[in-house]
């Protein structure tokens, strides 16, 4: 009880100091005359689309941009003609990397993919042993969106089998449908808002390329702690 009182009072003290400090107003940044007017009505960031890197108008241009960004990020992007090509594409990777077990989650696409491999599968949905996941050669997951502008993948713990599946195994395979490609970051945020509204998954992650570090002489190394490889299979 006493502890609770202290916590409450600390909160009130900090908020009190903030309110006291804000009695004096600070100058607005920059010299835009319309700043004050639109700062109160809409977000200054709401026009972000006009300033962020351009993405091209057509779907084809955006797929090209996504592919180019993936190449820059050293992520493997494969655009397949249809769903039926998915098993062959996966089997090719599995054979090349000699997978013996995989981790995945329950989902229409992920079930189809993991069944087609015929390997032991660790499913995360009903809880799992992390030591077992650590032994898996790849994590196969669905996603919420692909972003042309950045070459990124949006996953949530609801759409992609939890928090660890997309980051613990050494190879993360993302399964996506063509219509999941969005043009830019504002579109990705709008999609998340529309899809999850007031019940957001407790983790939303924008994954842009495989895990990396430059902490030693600023030289790029892939697979610092997360996956060394990121493959995006899209049909």
């Amino acid at each position: 009880m006493k502890n609770e009182e202290i916590i409450l009072s600390e909160r009130e003290k900090i908020l009190g100091r903030i309110r006291e400090a804000l009695k004096v107003s600070a100058p607005l940044p920059g010299s835009h005359s319309e700043v004050a007017a639109h700062a109160t009505t809409e977000s200054p960031a709401s026009h972000a689309r006009e300033w962020l890197p351009s993405v091209g108008a057509s779907g084809a241009e955006q797929f090209d941009l996504f592919a180019k960004n993936c190449a820059d990020l050293k992520a493997d992007f494969q655009l397949l003609n249809n769903r039926e090509e998915l098993p062959a594409a996966l089997q090719k990777i599995a054979a090349a990397e000699k997978w013996s077990r995989i981790a995945s989650h329950d989902g229409e696409l992920s079930n189809f993919a993991s069944v087609s491999l015929g390997l032991p599968v660790l499913l995360t949905d009903k809880g799992y042993d992390v030591q077992e996941m650590e032994k898996c050669d790849a994590g196969i997951s669905e996603c919420d969106a692909l972003i042309a502008q950045t070459g990124g993948v949006v996953v949530t713990n609801r759409s992609a089998g939890g928090r660890a599946l997309s980051v613990l195994p050494p190879h993360h395979i993302v399964l996506a449908r063509r219509e999941q490609l969005v043009a830019d970051l504002p579109a990705a945020f709008a999609l998340l808002q529309q899809k999850y509204a007031d019940n957001y998954p407790s983790m939303i992650s924008f994954i842009t390329g495989p895990s990396r570090t430059g902490d030693i002489e600023r030289i790029l190394v892939l697979g610092a702690h997360g996956p060394k490889k990121l493959t995006i299979l899209c049909f």
Partner: protein
């Protein structure tokens, strides 16, 4: 040693250190090139900066409302929010959580706020095992050092030094290739993620609208830290709020571009709670500790309030000629470079830290590099003004008063000229020694000889 003499002595040592200079040059060589390339990819980087500055202005100037909204949303989904006015309170809150959970081991992802409150030291003294998981932080932790740079903690070390360090501390260093060394750290860390009792993180942005904390990282260590241990603790400054979820669409690419010349950092992850019903993993408990630690004092200074807009990208450090020459450790502060020079006097005392605002060329490179348009170099000037107003240096005051008398009276001025000309040969005898009153200046500089005839005399006597 006082903070200022420590700064002076380290700065003069580092500026002469050719090895240090070449390491820093290597580390920052490509930064400006890749950053400018990424900036140029924006349709309008300048408009984006203006919008980012306005968004942060809105966030900071309504900080109380945003914090109330943020914490209500967080608590509604089972997150425990704690408020700490200072470092001691934050450390005690964290210790209490660890005691309650009977924790022994903590895996940490990068958090400058934890450096600010010297958390690792305090926890290790209490017997906890604390492991930094970010590669750069792990390296400086093994060396018992503070991070050299807020974004690149180990940029002052060569691969050879890191190899020797790993060999000595871990007994494992197959070669000095960055790839091999990174894989050593990866192997060491893997089991730690799986077995740590508590995962500890910082936060880059807090979204008031949705009650989320967004963490930016490249390595995946924060993702793992927030996924595997049963308890998660996040320590974050109160100034990190953004009003809306969609604001991240602007801030995430800007942070990556300004900070490291990346289009996006590899993982940008928004957390809105501990493991929720129906979710298959994640921490059972999430504690968010909001830290004031004199940020509200900075907030009360309307003139410099915008320094709370800082998103800790490190851009101002990277371009700063002082940082590049004296290096990160010389500052002796958690936040170094221009932004550190601006905020440290507010966070830790003006008279103790005013010297950082003098260590500046006022070139304005920092202000230009800042993605949220903090007026950094003017704030350095304001710190100088405030320092001299609050406690003017006696001799400086006396010197300027004397100069004003002499310069305002032609008879005194011409007498001073004569004395100057006559005593000039004596100056060369004491130049740069302890007897020289202008030692700090003349030690490394030549005083030009004073001519016998001044311009005024020449003009008067010309034919």
């Amino acid at each position: 040693m006082s903070f200022v003499s420590q700064f002076k002595s380290l700065a003069s040592e580092k500026t002469r250190d050719l090895r240090h200079r070449s390491v820093i040059r290597t580390a920052l060589r490509s930064y400006e090139v890749v950053r400018d390339k990424r900036k140029a990819a924006f349709q309008s980087w300048e408009s984006a900066r203006q919008a980012a500055a306005e968004t942060k202005w809105e966030a900071i100037n309504h900080l109380d409302e945003h914090l109330v909204a943020l914490t209500a949303k967080l608590e509604a989904r089972g997150t425990k929010v704690h408020w700490a006015s200072n470092g001691a309170q934050a450390r005690e809150i964290i210790s209490q959580i660890l005691r309650d959970k009977k924790a022994r081991s903590i895996i940490k992802s990068k958090a400058m706020t934890s450096e600010e409150i010297h958390l690792n030291h305090a926890l290790e003294k209490e017997g906890y095992t604390v492991v930094e998981s970010d590669l750069g932080e792990f390296i400086v932790q093994l060396r018992h050092e503070a991070p050299y740079h807020i974004v690149f903690p180990s940029m002052h070390l060569t691969r050879g030094e890191i190899k020797d360090l790993f060999q000595k501390e871990l007994g494992d260093a197959p070669s000095d290739s960055p790839e091999d060394l990174t894989m050593v750290a990866r192997r060491v860390m893997r089991q730690k993620y799986l077995t740590a009792d508590v995962g500890f993180t910082g936060g880059n942005f807090a979204i008031a609208e949705t009650g989320m904390i967004s963490i930016t990282e490249n390595e995946g260590n924060a993702r793992l830290t927030a996924a595997l241990p049963k308890t998660m603790i996040t320590l974050m400054g109160i100034e990190k709020v953004l009003p809306r979820f969609a604001d991240l669409a602007l801030f995430l690419p800007m942070l990556a571009t300004a900070g490291a010349g990346q289009p996006m950092t590899c993982y940008n992850t928004m957390y809105s709670g501990p493991r929720q019903p129906g979710e298959c993993d994640g921490p059972e408990e999430w504690h968010v500790v909001l830290l004031d630690n004199r940020r509200t004092e900075l907030l009360a200074n309307a003139e410099q309030r915008d320094s709370l807009h800082c998103i800790r990208c490190g851009a101002c450090l990277n371009v700063c000629p002082i940082f590049r020459n004296v290096g990160g450790h010389t500052y002796g502060t958690t936040y170094s470079g221009p932004v550190g020079a601006v905020i440290t006097p507010h966070l830790r005392g003006l008279q103790d830290w005013k010297h950082l605002s003098n260590a500046s060329t006022l070139c304005g490179g920092c202000t230009e590099a800042c993605p949220v348009k903090i007026d950094l170099h003017h704030h350095l000037l304001q710190n100088r003004r405030n320092a001299s107003t609050s406690e003017p240096a006696f001799f400086e005051k006396l010197a300027y008063q004397t100069f004003a008398i002499v310069a305002n009276e032609p008879a005194f001025w011409s007498l001073a000229k004569k004395i100057g000309w006559l005593t000039q040969p004596l100056q060369s005898l004491v130049k740069g020694t302890a007897l020289d009153p202008a030692k700090a200046w003349t030690k490394t500089r030549e005083l030009p000889p004073q001519p016998l005839e001044s311009f005024k005399d020449w003009w008067k006597n010309r034919k």
